[in-house]
Symmetry: C2
Subunit: 175 residues, 2 copies
Amino acid sequence: MPAPSLSLAELGGLDERRFVDALGSLFEHSPWVAEAAWRRRPFGSVAELHAALELAMREAPRERQLELIRAHPELAGREAQQRTLTRESSKEQASVGLDRLTADELETLGRLNAAYRDRFGFPLIVCAREHTKDSIIAWGVARLAHSREQEIDIALGEIAKIARLRLADLVEEPS
Amino acid sequence: MPAPSLSLAELGGLDERRFVDALGSLFEHSPWVAEAAWRRRPFGSVAELHAALELAMREAPRERQLELIRAHPELAGREAQQRTLTRESSKEQASVGLDRLTADELETLGRLNAAYRDRFGFPLIVCAREHTKDSIIAWGVARLAHSREQEIDIALGEIAKIARLRLADLVEEPS
């Protein structure tokens, strides 16, 4: 990852449009999260900024949360094969080798993705940078046994983690 | 789990001591997190209350965060065998069968716990209620390859998840 390029002070001075331009990609295809967080400024720390972003997501209506979840690509799925992943997702999936699976691994993950989407109606979301291929698959299988409510909660938690790491790539902590 | 027994409005009316009495157990052996969060009241939603708790943890000095991490028991470790787990941890570990492992499973997890503590100097923390025995072990093995900084961040994330679920057991969302 390149060094963070934006300071917290710079971010604090942005109007809504520029703030959303800068942080809109933290939540996959869902700039509305940054938009809602902007209203909670000022932010005294990167942790406070992240808390505002997560809160905007957690307090959104359930339908909005489901749209956010559904805006995510599958792991090593169609978007990856067609090279239509967002730049961030592409890096994250590559960081654990999901862009160079063997045929067997691809089949295992493909079956898991299909079973998961079939059961819950949305894609399996894992903060890939915290995992390996094997632990993603083991956790995915475990998650098939959950209720839909539980999986919505876990998916939002993973999305918040993904956003935390993307934010750390972007914004410098004041020293 | 019993039905939540405290409303958000009731919680909002508590003085610092009673607030910490009510929520001190959300963060294992670490009532200082609730204490710091109390200063951020009022809380308009359970999500806001959780955000304040997580922020208190995230903004604490690194030494304090490490104490919090180290205050956690191992999964199916010494505390579990000596029956000295907190009530919350005991329920959480039992919910995925960590209280009734086979001798082989106990040995596998014991070796993982030891390797993890040896490498990072603190126990492996996983939000057990989101996992199965197998996915805990697969993720634990994956995490051995991380840097210490990464594992501190993941541990804090798991602790925030554990607190979110404990909070949902305790406090009713206003309807």
